[in-house]
């Protein structure tokens, strides 16, 4: 110090880099010794060697920190970015880079507020992953055969659980001993949960069908192991249904959010785990009583019903009463019905015959007769006409005949000679004839007797006319 004050300048001693670096290290380490520093964790880096490098900072400055691999186990919290912590350790320098830093061998969360803030952050993260979802929760078996309890093998917690189990329903219990606070807590609890799940049912170590993770009450730091992500993940991954019972009713740790059921206390966990045997025995007895009562009632009900039914069953006579009455009524009604039917039929017959009355026929006949007479009256003049015309024609023809006939010739002095019926026109024939007859104007004279046909003069025979020609 004197050197600087007395004569700054040329006579100042000259250090090598290592000398000054060593001097600074000595000053820093000697001056500060073991100290505590409060700040927020900044960047965290774990080297492959296992050593931890991180910053502790406030709003203006940064302090580089290191925790060697061997020291990490002693930290009660792992540095996590953003976490408000108080670190404890020694200040030192790193001459190779002209830097100073703090070697931290203990880290504590700075106050409850900071702890809770970190817990909130973890909760949000796991919740976002869906680990708290209700549908992930497995039902707690109603009556587990084997219960695995993860807790400290000493102390009130395991005693309380075993007591309550014995009171309710004695079961097989496997205790997996773990540290329930401190830095060994989280890895041991996580290992126990995984270990129980790894057991095979029916193996040398039987696999429990229910797990209870329990710890008594304590400070937030005491319970902190159950807030570790490692524990929460192991509980979430457990295939065996898990009841968490950490701390008192008011304490809620991260494992409570992922467990299948949260119990407020270890004793309550035992109550959730098994039903009360005596109550169940009573229940079974009650069921038996209900069954026999139901059976009795069933028979009674059927007997009553049978009695009621047989009571309302009608007598055979009563059954016949009505049909018999109906038959009688029918019997009465039958002749009446027959008469009515006949009446109805004759009525319609009368209606029909009414249409064929003689008067009507007479009218028809009269009308027909009148028609006939009218027509007959018209016919008479016609017939007369036809008759007159025919007789005129006849007279004309007669006149024509007499004019043209041979008799007129007879008037004029001609005669007709006959032999029998034959007209004789040749003299030779007349000579041969046995007898002849001559017709004159006024009659016939036989040649010989010649008087026979005289009365028949004027009578003409049309069939004789042909012989004239």
């Amino acid at each position: 110090m004197d050197l600087f004050e007395d004569k700054p300048g040329d006579n100042a001693p000259e250090f090598s880099v290592s000398e000054i670096s060593g001097a600074v290290k000595k000053v820093i380490e000697g001056e500060f010794g073991r100290i505590r520093v409060r700040g927020e964790v900044g960047r965290v880096f774990q080297a492959r060697s296992g050593h931890l490098y991180y910053d502790i900072k406030d709003d203006k400055n940064v302090l580089a920190c290191t925790t060697w691999k061997g020291q990490i186990g002693t930290l009660s919290v792992r540095p996590e970015e953003g976490l408000e912590v108080v670190v404890t350790g020694r200040l030192t320098t790193f001459g190779a880079q002209s830097k100073y830093n703090m070697n931290v061998d203990e880290m504590a969360v700075a106050g409850e507020g900071a702890l809770m803030a970190m817990l909130e952050k973890r909760k949000k993260k796991l919740e976002a992953e869906g680990l708290f979802a209700t549908e992930r929760k497995k039902p707690i078996p109603y009556l587990p055969e084997i219960i695995g309890v993860i807790t400290s093998p000493q102390g009130a917690v395991i005693r309380d659980i075993l007591h309550r189990l014995r009171d309710r329903f004695p079961r097989k219990v496997l205790v997996w001993p773990v540290a329930v606070q401190g830095d060994r807590c989280a890895p041991e609890v996580a290992n126990a949960i995984r270990g129980f799940n790894a057991l095979t049912p029916g193996g040398a170590l039987p696999r429990p069908d229910l797990l209870i993770v329990a710890r008594g009450g304590g400070s937030i730091e005491d319970l902190w192991g159950f807030n570790e992500e490692e524990v929460a993940r192991a509980a979430a991954d457990s295939d065996i249904p898990l009841i968490s019972a950490v701390g008192h009713e008011t304490d809620t740790t991260l494992i409570d959010f992922v467990s299948d059921q949260r119990a407020p206390t270890p004793t309550a966990a035992a109550e959730l785990a098994v039903p009360v045997r005596l109550e169940l025995l009573a229940w079974v007895e009650a069921q038996e009583a209900r069954i026999s009562r139901a059976g009795q009632q069933m028979i009674e009900r059927r007997r009553d019903r049978l009695r009621d039914l047989s009571r309302v069953l009608p007598k055979p006579d009563a059954l016949l009463f009505e049909p018999r009455q109906r038959l009688d009524r029918m019997d009465d009604a039958l002749p009446q019905a027959l008469i009515r039917l006949t009446e109805r039929k004759s009525a319609s017959l009368a209606q029909l015959t009414g249409a064929v009355r003689p008067a009507m026929l007479r009218t028809k006949v009269t009308a027909a007769r009148e028609r006939l007479e009218t027509r007959a009256a018209r016919l008479e003049p016609l017939i007369r006409q036809v008759h007159d015309r025919k007789s005129d024609q006849l007279q004309q023809l007669e006149r024509l005949r007499t004019t043209l006939g041979y008799q007129a010739t007879l008037q004029r002095g001609y005669a007709v000679v006959r032999s029998g019926d034959q007209i004789v026109t040749d003299a030779s024939d007349a000579k041969k004839a046995a007898e002849l007859e001559i017709e004159f104007r006024d009659g016939r004279v036989p040649v010989g007797s010649g008087k026979k046909s005289s009365t028949k003069a004027g009578r003409s025979d049309p069939s004789d006319q042909g012989s004239l020609f």
Binding site: P141, L162, P170, R171, R277, I291, G295
Partner: protein, 80 residues
């Protein structure tokens, strides 16, 4: 009614089945023949439940671990 033989039922299943039998018998609308069968099943279920309740044995053991935290066996527990 499930097909699981009563002897293989868990206590809870047997309990539920027993309750079902009782409810059906109490409802009284089961045909007589069926109700006799139900009655018999109820008796069987009851016996099974009682057997399960009788199997209430306390047995507590603590798991022993090796240095890697792996289970090696069990030891009796005597919590004070």
């Amino acid at each position: 009614m499930s097909d699981t033989p009563v002897s293989e039922m868990s206590f809870e299943d047997a309990m539920r089945a027993l309750e079902d039998v009782v409810n059906r018998l109490e409802a009284g609308d089961v045909p007589l023949e069926d109700s006799i069968k139900l009655y018999e099943r109820g008796a069987e279920l009851k016996a099974h439940c009682q057997k399960k309740l009788a199997e209430a044995e306390e047995k507590v053991a603590q798991i022993t671990l090796d240095k890697d935290g792996q289970p090696t066996g069990t030891a009796p527990v005597h919590p004070q």
